[in-house]
Amino acid sequence: MSGVSPTTPTDPPVVQISGLYKSFGTVDVLKGIDLTVREREVVCVIGPSGSGKSTLLRCVNLLERPTQGVVELLGIDVTDPDVDIDRVRTHVGMVFQSFNLFAHHTVMGNLILAQRKVLKRSKAEAEEVAWANLRQVGLEDRATFYPAELSGGQQQRAAIARALSMNPALMLFDEPTSALDPELVGDVLAVMRDLALGGMTMLVVTHEMAFARDVSDRVVFMDDGVIVEEGPAAQVIGSPSTDRARIFLKRVLDPTHIDDSEIGETEPDEPAD
Protein backbone atom coordinates (compact mmCIF):
# COMPACT_ATOMS: atom_id res chain seq x y z
CA MET A 1 0.00 0.00 0.00
CA SER A 2 2.40 2.66 -1.18
CA GLY A 3 1.55 6.18 -2.26
CA VAL A 4 -0.10 7.10 -5.52
CA SER A 5 2.86 9.02 -6.92
CA PRO A 6 6.10 7.22 -6.26
CA THR A 7 8.98 9.65 -6.00
CA THR A 8 12.66 9.10 -6.09
CA PRO A 9 15.31 10.80 -3.99
CA THR A 10 16.43 12.61 -7.12
CA ASP A 11 13.20 14.59 -7.45
CA PRO A 12 13.94 18.21 -6.56
CA PRO A 13 12.79 19.26 -3.09
CA VAL A 14 9.91 21.73 -2.97
CA VAL A 15 10.24 22.36 0.76
CA GLN A 16 13.35 21.76 2.76
CA ILE A 17 13.09 22.44 6.47
CA SER A 18 16.17 22.15 8.62
CA GLY A 19 16.72 22.80 12.30
CA LEU A 20 13.39 24.60 12.68
CA TYR A 21 12.60 26.03 16.12
CA LYS A 22 9.59 28.09 17.01
CA SER A 23 8.62 29.45 20.38
CA PHE A 24 5.81 31.72 21.49
CA GLY A 25 7.29 33.69 24.35
CA THR A 26 8.63 31.08 26.71
CA VAL A 27 6.65 28.21 25.16
CA ASP A 28 8.75 26.09 22.82
CA VAL A 29 6.40 24.67 20.21
CA LEU A 30 8.78 23.37 17.55
CA LYS A 31 12.07 21.95 18.78
CA GLY A 32 14.26 21.15 15.84
CA ILE A 33 12.30 19.93 12.82
CA ASP A 34 13.98 18.54 9.71
CA LEU A 35 11.66 17.68 6.86
CA THR A 36 11.91 17.55 3.09
CA VAL A 37 9.00 17.32 0.67
CA ARG A 38 9.92 16.54 -2.92
CA GLU A 39 8.07 17.32 -6.11
CA ARG A 40 4.83 15.31 -6.57
CA GLU A 41 5.18 13.93 -3.07
CA VAL A 42 2.27 13.73 -0.61
CA VAL A 43 3.36 13.91 3.02
CA CYS A 44 0.85 13.54 5.85
CA VAL A 45 1.60 14.91 9.30
CA ILE A 46 -0.16 13.22 12.20
CA GLY A 47 0.15 13.67 15.92
CA PRO A 48 -1.71 14.63 19.08
CA SER A 49 -3.33 18.01 19.62
CA GLY A 50 -0.84 20.70 20.58
CA SER A 51 2.15 18.83 19.13
CA GLY A 52 2.90 21.75 16.77
CA LYS A 53 1.50 20.48 13.46
CA SER A 54 -0.29 23.71 12.57
CA THR A 55 2.69 25.76 13.65
CA LEU A 56 4.96 23.70 11.39
CA LEU A 57 2.67 24.33 8.42
CA ARG A 58 2.37 28.02 9.22
CA CYS A 59 6.14 28.34 9.39
CA VAL A 60 6.40 27.00 5.83
CA ASN A 61 4.53 29.96 4.33
CA LEU A 62 5.67 32.30 7.09
CA LEU A 63 2.30 32.98 8.68
CA GLU A 64 4.54 32.38 11.69
CA ARG A 65 8.16 33.50 11.75
CA PRO A 66 10.51 30.68 12.73
CA THR A 67 12.57 31.46 15.81
CA GLN A 68 15.52 29.59 14.37
CA GLY A 69 16.32 27.34 11.43
CA VAL A 70 15.93 27.41 7.67
CA VAL A 71 12.87 26.91 5.50
CA GLU A 72 13.72 26.62 1.83
CA LEU A 73 10.86 26.86 -0.62
CA LEU A 74 11.74 26.06 -4.24
CA GLY A 75 15.36 26.70 -3.32
CA ILE A 76 14.69 30.10 -1.72
CA ASP A 77 15.40 30.56 1.97
CA VAL A 78 12.16 32.25 3.06
CA THR A 79 13.52 33.08 6.51
CA ASP A 80 15.93 35.54 4.88
CA PRO A 81 14.56 38.97 5.87
CA ASP A 82 15.27 40.32 2.36
CA VAL A 83 13.02 37.77 0.65
CA ASP A 84 9.81 39.09 -0.91
CA ILE A 85 7.57 36.82 1.11
CA ASP A 86 4.38 37.92 -0.66
CA ARG A 87 5.93 36.71 -3.90
CA VAL A 88 6.95 33.38 -2.36
CA ARG A 89 3.51 32.83 -0.85
CA THR A 90 1.86 32.90 -4.29
CA HIS A 91 3.60 29.57 -4.96
CA VAL A 92 2.19 27.95 -1.81
CA GLY A 93 -1.52 27.28 -1.44
CA MET A 94 -2.94 26.91 2.03
CA VAL A 95 -6.20 25.32 3.10
CA PHE A 96 -7.42 26.04 6.63
CA GLN A 97 -9.50 24.02 9.03
CA SER A 98 -12.06 26.84 9.17
CA PHE A 99 -12.12 27.44 5.36
CA ASN A 100 -11.61 31.22 5.68
CA LEU A 101 -13.39 32.08 2.47
CA PHE A 102 -13.78 35.84 2.08
CA ALA A 103 -17.26 36.40 3.50
CA HIS A 104 -18.01 39.48 1.39
CA HIS A 105 -17.29 37.81 -1.95
CA THR A 106 -19.06 35.14 -3.94
CA VAL A 107 -17.25 31.91 -4.67
CA MET A 108 -16.12 33.35 -8.00
CA GLY A 109 -15.04 36.56 -6.27
CA ASN A 110 -12.98 34.51 -3.84
CA LEU A 111 -11.26 32.66 -6.67
CA ILE A 112 -10.31 35.70 -8.73
CA LEU A 113 -9.35 38.22 -6.02
CA ALA A 114 -5.72 37.21 -5.55
CA GLN A 115 -5.29 36.29 -9.21
CA ARG A 116 -6.22 39.86 -10.09
CA LYS A 117 -4.45 41.71 -7.25
CA VAL A 118 -1.30 39.61 -7.00
CA LEU A 119 -0.79 37.88 -10.34
CA LYS A 120 -2.30 40.85 -12.22
CA ARG A 121 -4.31 38.53 -14.44
CA SER A 122 -7.08 40.03 -16.54
CA LYS A 123 -10.62 39.44 -15.35
CA ALA A 124 -11.33 37.09 -18.25
CA GLU A 125 -8.17 35.10 -17.68
CA ALA A 126 -8.74 34.88 -13.93
CA GLU A 127 -12.31 33.69 -14.45
CA GLU A 128 -11.21 31.08 -16.94
CA VAL A 129 -8.74 29.68 -14.41
CA ALA A 130 -11.42 29.88 -11.72
CA TRP A 131 -13.97 27.94 -13.79
CA ALA A 132 -11.45 25.19 -14.46
CA ASN A 133 -10.75 24.84 -10.75
CA LEU A 134 -14.43 25.00 -9.80
CA ARG A 135 -15.04 22.15 -12.22
CA GLN A 136 -12.23 20.19 -10.64
CA VAL A 137 -13.81 20.46 -7.18
CA GLY A 138 -17.35 20.02 -8.51
CA LEU A 139 -18.70 23.49 -7.74
CA GLU A 140 -19.43 25.03 -11.16
CA ASP A 141 -23.05 25.52 -10.08
CA ARG A 142 -22.08 27.47 -6.95
CA ALA A 143 -19.95 30.25 -8.49
CA THR A 144 -22.43 33.00 -7.62
CA PHE A 145 -23.09 31.83 -4.06
CA TYR A 146 -21.77 33.57 -0.96
CA PRO A 147 -19.81 31.42 1.52
CA ALA A 148 -22.61 31.67 4.09
CA GLU A 149 -24.92 30.03 1.55
CA LEU A 150 -22.73 26.93 1.20
CA SER A 151 -22.32 23.78 3.28
CA GLY A 152 -19.02 23.30 5.09
CA GLY A 153 -17.89 20.76 2.54
CA GLN A 154 -18.69 23.10 -0.33
CA GLN A 155 -16.88 25.94 1.40
CA GLN A 156 -13.79 23.82 1.87
CA ARG A 157 -13.81 22.69 -1.74
CA ALA A 158 -14.18 26.32 -2.82
CA ALA A 159 -11.22 27.19 -0.59
CA ILE A 160 -9.18 24.47 -2.27
CA ALA A 161 -10.18 25.81 -5.69
CA ARG A 162 -9.18 29.30 -4.56
CA ALA A 163 -5.73 28.11 -3.56
CA LEU A 164 -5.34 26.14 -6.79
CA SER A 165 -6.22 29.20 -8.86
CA MET A 166 -2.81 30.66 -8.01
CA ASN A 167 -1.12 27.65 -9.66
CA PRO A 168 0.85 26.77 -6.52
CA ALA A 169 3.85 24.47 -6.54
CA LEU A 170 2.89 23.23 -3.09
CA MET A 171 -0.37 22.84 -1.22
CA LEU A 172 -0.56 22.96 2.58
CA PHE A 173 -3.63 21.46 4.25
CA ASP A 174 -4.24 22.05 7.97
CA GLU A 175 -6.87 19.54 9.11
CA PRO A 176 -9.10 20.39 6.14
CA THR A 177 -11.90 18.05 7.22
CA SER A 178 -11.86 18.50 10.99
CA ALA A 179 -14.60 21.15 11.00
CA LEU A 180 -16.92 19.18 8.73
CA ASP A 181 -19.96 17.06 9.42
CA PRO A 182 -18.97 13.42 8.93
CA GLU A 183 -21.06 12.97 5.78
CA LEU A 184 -19.26 15.89 4.08
CA VAL A 185 -15.72 14.69 4.76
CA GLY A 186 -15.68 12.28 1.83
CA ASP A 187 -16.24 14.93 -0.85
CA VAL A 188 -13.29 16.98 0.36
CA LEU A 189 -11.00 13.98 0.69
CA ALA A 190 -11.98 12.89 -2.83
CA VAL A 191 -10.91 16.26 -4.19
CA MET A 192 -7.60 15.99 -2.32
CA ARG A 193 -7.06 12.47 -3.60
CA ASP A 194 -7.63 13.67 -7.19
CA LEU A 195 -5.13 16.44 -6.61
CA ALA A 196 -2.56 13.95 -5.35
CA LEU A 197 -3.19 11.71 -8.34
CA GLY A 198 -2.66 14.72 -10.58
CA GLY A 199 0.83 15.10 -9.19
CA MET A 200 0.38 18.02 -6.78
CA THR A 201 2.99 18.31 -4.06
CA MET A 202 1.11 18.24 -0.76
CA LEU A 203 1.87 18.61 2.94
CA VAL A 204 -1.23 17.54 4.83
CA VAL A 205 -1.99 17.71 8.55
CA THR A 206 -4.85 15.29 9.11
CA HIS A 207 -6.53 12.90 11.49
CA GLU A 208 -7.96 10.88 8.57
CA MET A 209 -5.84 7.77 8.88
CA ALA A 210 -7.44 6.07 5.88
CA PHE A 211 -6.50 9.04 3.71
CA ALA A 212 -2.95 9.06 5.10
CA ARG A 213 -2.64 5.34 4.47
CA ASP A 214 -4.04 5.31 0.94
CA VAL A 215 -2.83 8.58 -0.53
CA SER A 216 0.39 9.65 1.14
CA ASP A 217 3.89 8.68 0.13
CA ARG A 218 5.16 9.36 3.59
CA VAL A 219 3.70 9.85 7.03
CA VAL A 220 5.31 12.02 9.69
CA PHE A 221 4.35 11.48 13.31
CA MET A 222 4.90 14.56 15.48
CA ASP A 223 4.74 14.82 19.22
CA ASP A 224 5.73 17.64 21.53
CA GLY A 225 7.42 19.71 18.83
CA VAL A 226 9.62 17.05 17.30
CA ILE A 227 9.26 14.45 14.55
CA VAL A 228 9.14 11.16 16.37
CA GLU A 229 8.67 8.85 13.41
CA GLU A 230 8.76 9.21 9.67
CA GLY A 231 8.36 6.74 6.83
CA PRO A 232 5.97 5.04 4.44
CA ALA A 233 2.36 5.05 5.63
CA ALA A 234 2.26 1.28 6.01
CA GLN A 235 5.20 1.44 8.37
CA VAL A 236 4.29 4.47 10.52
CA ILE A 237 0.58 3.71 10.76
CA GLY A 238 0.71 -0.05 10.34
CA SER A 239 3.60 -0.94 12.63
CA PRO A 240 4.92 2.09 14.50
CA SER A 241 8.24 1.56 16.18
CA THR A 242 7.87 4.02 19.06
CA ASP A 243 5.56 3.83 22.05
CA ARG A 244 4.39 7.41 21.57
CA ALA A 245 3.19 6.68 18.04
CA ARG A 246 1.62 3.40 19.11
CA ILE A 247 -0.37 5.06 21.90
CA PHE A 248 -1.51 7.86 19.64
CA LEU A 249 -2.56 5.53 16.83
CA LYS A 250 -4.35 3.22 19.21
CA ARG A 251 -6.41 6.15 20.42
CA VAL A 252 -7.21 7.31 16.89
CA LEU A 253 -7.82 3.92 15.31
CA ASP A 254 -9.27 1.83 18.13
CA PRO A 255 -13.01 1.40 17.45
CA THR A 256 -13.85 1.09 21.16
CA HIS A 257 -12.36 4.53 21.61
CA ILE A 258 -14.73 5.86 18.94
CA ASP A 259 -17.65 4.21 20.74
CA ASP A 260 -16.56 5.85 23.97
CA SER A 261 -16.61 9.30 22.43
CA GLU A 262 -20.06 8.72 20.95
CA ILE A 263 -21.45 7.73 24.30
CA GLY A 264 -19.79 10.80 25.76
CA GLU A 265 -21.70 13.03 23.34
CA THR A 266 -25.09 11.68 24.26
CA GLU A 267 -24.44 11.60 27.97
CA PRO A 268 -25.96 14.99 28.91
CA ASP A 269 -29.38 13.75 27.73
CA GLU A 270 -29.38 10.94 30.24
CA PRO A 271 -30.35 11.37 33.88
CA ALA A 272 -27.32 12.34 35.94
CA ASP A 273 -28.21 10.22 38.98
Binding site: F102, H104, A114
Partner: protein, 276 residues
Protein backbone atom coordinates in the same frame (compact mmCIF):
# COMPACT_ATOMS: atom_id res chain seq x y z
CA UNK B 1 -53.99 3.63 42.71
CA UNK B 2 -50.58 5.37 42.79
CA UNK B 3 -49.49 6.64 46.18
CA UNK B 4 -46.62 8.93 45.09
CA UNK B 5 -48.12 12.47 45.09
CA UNK B 6 -45.77 13.54 42.27
CA UNK B 7 -46.65 10.76 39.91
CA UNK B 8 -47.60 11.87 36.39
CA UNK B 9 -51.14 10.53 36.67
CA UNK B 10 -51.92 12.70 39.69
CA UNK B 11 -50.28 15.79 38.20
CA UNK B 12 -52.44 15.50 35.11
CA UNK B 13 -55.70 15.30 37.04
CA UNK B 14 -54.96 18.10 39.52
CA UNK B 15 -57.22 21.02 38.52
CA UNK B 16 -55.28 24.13 37.43
CA UNK B 17 -55.31 26.71 34.66
CA UNK B 18 -53.35 25.78 31.57
CA UNK B 19 -50.49 28.18 30.73
CA UNK B 20 -52.18 29.00 27.43
CA UNK B 21 -55.37 30.10 29.08
CA UNK B 22 -53.40 32.17 31.59
CA UNK B 23 -51.55 33.99 28.79
CA UNK B 24 -54.83 34.72 27.01
CA UNK B 25 -56.41 36.28 30.08
CA UNK B 26 -53.34 38.38 30.80
CA UNK B 27 -53.33 39.68 27.23
CA UNK B 28 -57.01 40.56 27.36
CA UNK B 29 -56.41 42.48 30.59
CA UNK B 30 -53.62 44.48 28.96
CA UNK B 31 -55.83 45.43 26.01
CA UNK B 32 -58.56 46.44 28.44
CA UNK B 33 -56.28 48.82 30.37
CA UNK B 34 -55.04 50.35 27.15
CA UNK B 35 -58.59 50.97 25.90
CA UNK B 36 -59.64 52.60 29.17
CA UNK B 37 -56.61 54.94 29.17
CA UNK B 38 -57.25 56.00 25.58
CA UNK B 39 -60.94 56.64 26.16
CA UNK B 40 -60.24 58.71 29.29
CA UNK B 41 -57.53 60.70 27.52
CA UNK B 42 -59.80 61.46 24.56
CA UNK B 43 -62.63 62.53 26.88
CA UNK B 44 -60.39 64.72 29.04
CA UNK B 45 -58.69 66.40 26.08
CA UNK B 46 -59.79 69.88 25.05
CA UNK B 47 -59.93 69.43 21.28
CA UNK B 48 -60.17 73.11 20.46
CA UNK B 49 -57.09 73.83 22.55
CA UNK B 50 -55.26 71.04 20.78
CA UNK B 51 -56.02 72.61 17.41
CA UNK B 52 -54.99 76.15 18.39
CA UNK B 53 -52.07 75.26 20.65
CA UNK B 54 -50.41 72.46 18.71
CA UNK B 55 -51.61 72.65 15.13
CA UNK B 56 -52.30 76.35 14.81
CA UNK B 57 -52.81 76.99 11.10
CA UNK B 58 -51.69 80.62 11.31
CA UNK B 59 -48.42 79.70 12.95
CA UNK B 60 -47.80 76.93 10.45
CA UNK B 61 -48.41 79.31 7.57
CA UNK B 62 -46.03 81.87 9.03
CA UNK B 63 -43.28 79.26 9.29
CA UNK B 64 -43.57 77.84 5.81
CA UNK B 65 -41.35 80.43 4.14
CA UNK B 66 -38.41 79.87 6.44
CA UNK B 67 -38.83 76.12 6.80
CA UNK B 68 -36.88 74.95 3.73
CA UNK B 69 -33.92 77.09 4.73
CA UNK B 70 -33.95 75.77 8.28
CA UNK B 71 -34.28 72.22 7.01
CA UNK B 72 -31.30 72.71 4.70
CA UNK B 73 -29.23 74.24 7.50
CA UNK B 74 -29.93 71.33 9.82
CA UNK B 75 -28.77 68.96 7.09
CA UNK B 76 -25.71 71.09 6.37
CA UNK B 77 -24.64 71.25 10.02
CA UNK B 78 -25.22 67.51 10.37
CA UNK B 79 -23.20 66.56 7.33
CA UNK B 80 -20.36 68.86 8.29
CA UNK B 81 -20.21 67.49 11.85
CA UNK B 82 -20.42 63.92 10.58
CA UNK B 83 -17.58 64.52 8.10
CA UNK B 84 -15.37 65.88 10.90
CA UNK B 85 -16.39 63.08 13.24
CA UNK B 86 -15.74 60.37 10.66
CA UNK B 87 -12.31 61.67 9.59
CA UNK B 88 -11.09 62.35 13.09
CA UNK B 89 -12.69 59.12 14.32
CA UNK B 90 -10.79 57.16 11.70
CA UNK B 91 -7.48 58.69 12.79
CA UNK B 92 -8.32 57.94 16.43
CA UNK B 93 -9.30 54.35 15.59
CA UNK B 94 -5.95 53.78 13.88
CA UNK B 95 -4.22 55.37 16.89
CA UNK B 96 -6.08 53.01 19.20
CA UNK B 97 -4.75 50.03 17.26
CA UNK B 98 -1.23 51.44 16.95
CA UNK B 99 1.73 49.57 18.36
CA UNK B 100 3.02 52.89 19.71
CA UNK B 101 1.80 53.20 23.30
CA UNK B 102 1.41 57.00 23.54
CA UNK B 103 -0.84 56.99 20.45
CA UNK B 104 -3.13 54.46 22.11
CA UNK B 105 -3.21 56.40 25.38
CA UNK B 106 -3.94 59.69 23.64
CA UNK B 107 -6.77 58.22 21.61
CA UNK B 108 -8.27 56.54 24.65
CA UNK B 109 -8.00 59.69 26.76
CA UNK B 110 -9.61 61.69 23.97
CA UNK B 111 -12.54 59.30 23.70
CA UNK B 112 -13.04 59.15 27.47
CA UNK B 113 -12.97 62.93 27.74
CA UNK B 114 -15.45 63.73 25.00
CA UNK B 115 -17.80 60.92 25.93
CA UNK B 116 -17.80 62.11 29.51
CA UNK B 117 -18.91 65.71 29.04
CA UNK B 118 -22.19 67.10 27.66
CA UNK B 119 -22.10 68.01 23.98
CA UNK B 120 -23.65 71.32 24.94
CA UNK B 121 -20.50 72.34 26.84
CA UNK B 122 -18.35 71.48 23.84
CA UNK B 123 -20.52 73.62 21.57
CA UNK B 124 -20.26 76.56 23.96
CA UNK B 125 -16.50 76.14 24.31
CA UNK B 126 -15.85 75.95 20.60
CA UNK B 127 -18.23 78.80 19.88
CA UNK B 128 -17.02 81.25 22.52
CA UNK B 129 -13.91 80.06 24.33
CA UNK B 130 -11.71 79.10 21.42
CA UNK B 131 -12.10 82.43 19.59
CA UNK B 132 -11.33 84.30 22.81
CA UNK B 133 -8.44 82.11 23.94
CA UNK B 134 -6.70 81.69 20.61
CA UNK B 135 -7.86 84.80 18.82
CA UNK B 136 -9.10 82.65 15.95
CA UNK B 137 -12.27 83.76 14.30
CA UNK B 138 -14.14 80.72 13.07
CA UNK B 139 -15.52 81.74 9.69
CA UNK B 140 -19.17 80.74 10.07
CA UNK B 141 -21.75 78.78 11.97
CA UNK B 142 -21.37 75.66 9.83
CA UNK B 143 -17.69 75.42 10.69
CA UNK B 144 -18.29 76.13 14.40
CA UNK B 145 -20.98 73.54 14.91
CA UNK B 146 -19.25 71.12 12.53
CA UNK B 147 -16.09 71.19 14.60
CA UNK B 148 -17.85 71.14 17.97
CA UNK B 149 -20.18 68.22 17.24
CA UNK B 150 -17.51 66.54 15.11
CA UNK B 151 -15.11 66.50 18.07
CA UNK B 152 -17.73 64.81 20.22
CA UNK B 153 -18.81 62.42 17.49
CA UNK B 154 -15.22 61.35 16.76
CA UNK B 155 -15.01 59.88 20.27
CA UNK B 156 -17.91 57.52 19.53
CA UNK B 157 -17.00 56.90 15.89
CA UNK B 158 -13.43 55.88 16.77
CA UNK B 159 -14.75 53.16 19.08
CA UNK B 160 -17.23 51.96 16.44
CA UNK B 161 -14.55 51.77 13.74
CA UNK B 162 -12.02 50.02 15.96
CA UNK B 163 -14.58 47.43 17.00
CA UNK B 164 -15.61 46.97 13.37
CA UNK B 165 -12.08 46.39 12.15
CA UNK B 166 -11.36 43.97 14.96
CA UNK B 167 -14.61 42.08 14.38
CA UNK B 168 -13.27 40.77 11.06
CA UNK B 169 -11.92 37.30 11.88
CA UNK B 170 -8.14 36.88 11.82
CA UNK B 171 -8.51 33.94 9.45
CA UNK B 172 -9.66 36.34 6.73
CA UNK B 173 -6.33 38.15 6.79
CA UNK B 174 -4.39 34.90 7.02
CA UNK B 175 -6.21 33.54 3.98
CA UNK B 176 -5.45 36.73 2.07
CA UNK B 177 -1.78 36.73 3.10
CA UNK B 178 -1.42 33.05 2.22
CA UNK B 179 -2.64 33.90 -1.29
CA UNK B 180 0.16 36.44 -1.63
CA UNK B 181 -1.66 39.67 -0.82
CA UNK B 182 0.45 42.17 1.06
CA UNK B 183 -0.63 43.45 4.48
CA UNK B 184 -2.05 46.62 2.98
CA UNK B 185 -3.75 44.77 0.12
CA UNK B 186 -5.34 42.41 2.63
CA UNK B 187 -6.45 45.43 4.64
CA UNK B 188 -7.97 47.16 1.61
CA UNK B 189 -9.51 44.18 -0.18
CA UNK B 190 -10.61 42.00 2.69
CA UNK B 191 -10.70 43.70 6.09
CA UNK B 192 -12.01 47.18 5.31
CA UNK B 193 -14.92 46.06 3.09
CA UNK B 194 -16.09 43.62 5.74
CA UNK B 195 -15.58 46.10 8.57
CA UNK B 196 -17.49 48.70 6.54
CA UNK B 197 -20.60 46.53 6.56
CA UNK B 198 -20.28 46.00 10.28
CA UNK B 199 -19.94 49.70 11.10
CA UNK B 200 -22.56 51.06 8.71
CA UNK B 201 -25.56 50.55 11.03
CA UNK B 202 -23.90 52.11 14.11
CA UNK B 203 -22.62 55.00 11.97
CA UNK B 204 -26.15 55.60 10.70
CA UNK B 205 -27.33 55.77 14.29
CA UNK B 206 -24.54 58.24 15.01
CA UNK B 207 -25.84 60.36 12.13
CA UNK B 208 -29.26 60.43 13.78
CA UNK B 209 -27.74 61.58 17.07
CA UNK B 210 -25.82 64.36 15.33
CA UNK B 211 -28.97 65.49 13.50
CA UNK B 212 -30.66 66.03 16.82
CA UNK B 213 -27.59 67.60 18.45
CA UNK B 214 -27.34 70.30 15.77
CA UNK B 215 -30.10 71.99 17.79
CA UNK B 216 -27.37 73.14 20.22
CA UNK B 217 -26.21 75.63 17.62
CA UNK B 218 -28.84 78.10 18.82
CA UNK B 219 -26.65 78.68 21.89
CA UNK B 220 -24.16 80.49 19.71
CA UNK B 221 -26.55 83.17 18.56
CA UNK B 222 -27.80 82.78 15.03
CA UNK B 223 -28.43 85.20 12.19
CA UNK B 224 -31.78 84.59 10.48
CA UNK B 225 -30.07 82.92 7.54
CA UNK B 226 -28.38 80.49 9.93
CA UNK B 227 -31.57 79.27 11.62
CA UNK B 228 -31.96 75.55 11.77
CA UNK B 229 -35.09 73.63 12.70
CA UNK B 230 -35.01 73.96 16.48
CA UNK B 231 -34.31 77.68 16.40
CA UNK B 232 -37.11 78.18 13.90
CA UNK B 233 -39.51 76.19 16.02
CA UNK B 234 -38.69 77.84 19.31
CA UNK B 235 -38.89 81.29 17.71
CA UNK B 236 -42.43 80.49 16.62
CA UNK B 237 -43.33 79.92 20.26
CA UNK B 238 -43.29 83.68 20.75
CA UNK B 239 -46.22 84.16 18.42
CA UNK B 240 -49.32 85.06 20.39
CA UNK B 241 -51.72 82.21 21.04
CA UNK B 242 -49.85 79.79 18.80
CA UNK B 243 -49.01 77.56 21.72
CA UNK B 244 -46.55 74.79 20.96
CA UNK B 245 -47.28 74.68 17.24
CA UNK B 246 -43.74 75.78 16.35
CA UNK B 247 -42.01 72.88 18.07
CA UNK B 248 -44.62 70.39 16.87
CA UNK B 249 -43.91 71.37 13.29
CA UNK B 250 -40.13 71.13 13.50
CA UNK B 251 -40.43 67.97 15.58
CA UNK B 252 -42.26 66.36 12.70
CA UNK B 253 -39.60 67.56 10.27
CA UNK B 254 -36.86 66.00 12.44
CA UNK B 255 -38.76 62.74 12.24
CA UNK B 256 -38.83 63.00 8.45
CA UNK B 257 -35.02 62.90 8.60
CA UNK B 258 -34.43 60.47 11.44
CA UNK B 259 -37.09 57.79 10.93
CA UNK B 260 -35.88 56.71 7.47
CA UNK B 261 -32.29 56.66 8.73
CA UNK B 262 -33.27 54.46 11.66
CA UNK B 263 -35.18 52.18 9.34
CA UNK B 264 -32.15 51.99 7.03
CA UNK B 265 -29.84 51.09 9.93
CA UNK B 266 -32.11 48.27 11.05
CA UNK B 267 -32.38 46.90 7.53
CA UNK B 268 -28.61 46.85 7.12
CA UNK B 269 -28.27 45.11 10.48
CA UNK B 270 -30.66 42.39 9.37
CA UNK B 271 -28.85 41.95 6.07
CA UNK B 272 -25.51 41.63 7.85
CA UNK B 273 -26.94 39.02 10.17
CA UNK B 274 -27.96 36.94 7.15
CA UNK B 275 -24.56 37.14 5.44
CA UNK B 276 -22.58 35.87 8.39
Amino acid sequence: MPTDPNSPALLATRPRMSPRKKAKISQAAQYGVLAIVIVLALKAMDWDKLRTQMFNVNVIASMLDALPRAFANTLLYTICAFAVGLSLGMVLALMKMSSVGPYRWLATAYAEFFRGIPALLVVLSIGFLIPILFGIKLPNMTVKIGIALGLVSAAYVSETLRAGLQAVPRGQVEAARSLGLSQSQAMRSVVVPQAFRIVLPPLTNELILITKDTSFVYLLGLATSEYELTKLGTNALNQASGGLTGVVVVGLVYLIITLPLGHLARRMEKKNARQR
